[in-house]
């Protein structure tokens, strides 16, 4: 399938009659754009910010001062990102080859109607191509093994694996119920011990941890301070009952991620939340692993009749375009008896709009990459009542944090914003004001 037909198919899928406005036909030129500065935060965790290494600011941060009470120069984010990435900074121990800029200009526009909020984002990518590729399963003559890793991973740093990871646009949303989020934003969720952070967890520590074993997790990801008895120690998780209570009180943040490989091809953005972990909403995501947990073989391969091939190879021309494995569009069950050769590759994730279900399937999105820039419109229904969603409604003002992952990277390798406010037809002032559509 060519790039163009893929996009066409996608927009038809996503925007049938169910939706109020078609985000592709909204006149965005009439809606004011706000430039939000994002910067590379490195390992500036909750714990680092409260330590003496955050010189002259530990006490102020611990007592809950807003980050921008000090970090308020007009070009603050540019200065900070540059400083952290210039080499030798204690917040970034890994030299990421080719990372040129420490900051990203994110242009944000917002609109709403009776049914939805429409959030439009534009930013320039570092590479002269869209980061729509994600890891593959590669046949090594005997077995299918993961090929392609995010750039902060050791195997990529050592040149043993290519750096491959999808681009992302993420939003964190608080409705005022999470203590401190209005002042310190996303940094409340970022902690030592997490993946790619200082004192990263060990498998043994996770296996011995009551909370993580109770929720069946094998690593440490974003969490809110309230979910721990000592917010600076991920090991001190509260009981599942206490956490359920916090959730019922709305003391969690929504986390929406638009993913250039795992949600873009089916016109969606994922829907998750952060409380004791970074969790997916109830139901089923639009993507899932394509490796069989027992045999490690792929579950699906491309439908040769539709795509022209069952698999690709590292040097395939096809890699220059958008390559997705979409269950209802171009996939068939894997054939273990086909004549597989060493170096054959199949995507490690299978994407499906039809299989996405429940609260995890709330968010739609359209996107395109043109001349070095992503344009993404996320469509979020108003009035959601799911237990794992922040309900957006007319008259509301929300605390939001933005992040982009660019250049084949995950975890801390993103560009982030200080906390901003998003108003949906609210009278009070907000950094970003959603315009009511006719």
């Amino acid at each position: 399938m060519t790039k163009r037909t893929m996009i066409l198919a996608m927009s038809m899928l996503a925007f049938g009659s169910a939706m109020a406005a078609d985000p592709a036909t909204i006149n965005w030129a009439k809606i004011p754009a706000k430039k939000i500065q994002l910067f590379y935060p490195g390992q500036s965790s909750y714990e680092w910010l409260r330590s003496d290494a955050h010189k002259g600011a530990a006490k102020e941060t611990a007592r809950g001062d807003s980050c921008t009470s000090c970090h308020d120069a007009s070009d603050e984010e540019v200065l900070q990102g540059r400083k952290i990435l210039k080499g030798g900074h204690p917040l970034e121990p890994t030299a990421i080859a080719g990372k040129k800029n420490g900051n990203v200009d994110l242009h944000v526009q917002a609109a709403y109607d009776k049914k939805n909020a429409y959030l439009r984002f534009q930013w320039k990518t570092q590479n002269p191509y869209a980061g729509t590729e994600h890891q593959y399963l590669r046949f090594d003559g005997k077995e299918w093994k993961v090929w392609g890793y995010p750039k902060l991973d050791k195997v990529v740093q050592e040149g043993k694996q290519p750096g491959i990871y999808e681009d992302r646009m993420s939003i964190m949303i608080d409705d005022g119920k999470v203590a401190g989020f209005a002042k310190q934003g996303c940094w409340l969720t970022c902690h030592d011990g997490q993946r790619d952070m200082p004192k990263q967890f060990t498998k043994e520590e996770v296996a011995a941890n009551p909370l993580l074993t109770a929720i069946k997790k094998g690593d440490v990801r974003k969490y809110l301070p309230d979910s721990r008895t000592d917010p600076s120690d991920w090991k001190t998780g509260k009981s599942v009952e206490e956490i359920a209570k916090l959730k019922a009180e709305g003391k969690f943040v929504d986390l929406i991620q638009w993913r250039a490989h795992r949600s873009y091809p089916v016109g969606m953005a994922d829907d998750g939340y952060v409380l004791e972990f970074r969790l997916a909403d109830a139901g089923k995501d639009m993507f899932g692993g394509n490796a069989d947990s027992k045999t490690h073989q792929p579950k699906f391969m491309w439908d040769e009749k539709k795509v022209g091939f069952k698999s690709i190879r590292a040097d395939s021309q096809a890699r220059k375009g958008d390559l997705f494995l979409v269950r209802e569009q171009n996939a068939v069950p894997f054939d273990p008896n086909a004549d597989w050769k060493e170096g054959d590759m199949i995507p490690d994730y299978i994407v499906s709009r039809e299989d996405a279900k429940g609260s995890a399937a709330d968010n739609n999105a359209i996107a395109n990459w043109n001349a070095g820039m992503w344009t993404v419109v996320i469509v979020r229904p108003l009035g959601l009542t799911n237990a794992d969603d922040k309900m957006l409604k007319e008259g509301g003002v929300y605390n939001v944090g933005f992040a982009t992952h660019d250049d084949n990277i995950t975890t801390r390798g993103h560009f982030v914003s200080y906390v901003k406010t998003l108003g949906i037809g609210a009278r009070t002032k907000a950094d970003i004001k959603a315009v009511k559509l006719p």
Binding site: K55, G56, A57, S69, C70, H71, A73, L79, K83
Partner: protein
């Protein structure tokens, strides 16, 4: 050593300033001084008008005028790392600027006191 501390461009700007007419010197110096001020994180505690953790530049300059202090006093503050008292009564070592070049220190001090 200078190369380690400043971008080469900045060194040229500062050097060139010496041979420029007075008004131009002041302007070029101001931009360069502000850049050094920011690169040293001084702005995170000293806002132009607002009290942050440290006094605002307006307040510092007013105090210096009143007490007839000059940039030499300001330089002492940015180079000696002496204890400063915070609003809650605790003490902290003051930040030391990352250059030993007196000309650069002087331009930063002058720029601060020009508010």
């Amino acid at each position: 050593m200078i190369r380690r501390l400043y971008s080469p461009g900045l060194v040229i700007i500062l050097a060139a300033a010496v041979s420029m007419p007075l008004t131009a010197t002041a302007q070029v110096d101001a931009a360069a001084a502000e850049k050094i001020f920011k690169e040293n994180d001084c702005h995170k505690c000293h806002h132009e008008t607002k009290a942050k953790k440290g006094p605002s530049l307006k307040k510092i300059s007013a105090k210096y005028k009143e007490k007839k202090l000059d940039e030499k006093e300001a330089i002492k503050h940015m180079t000696s790392g002496k204890k400063v008292k915070l609003d809650d009564g605790t003490e902290e070592d003051h930040k030391i600027i990352d250059t030993k070049d007196v000309n650069v220190q002087t331009s930063v001090a002058k720029w601060m006191l020009s508010h």
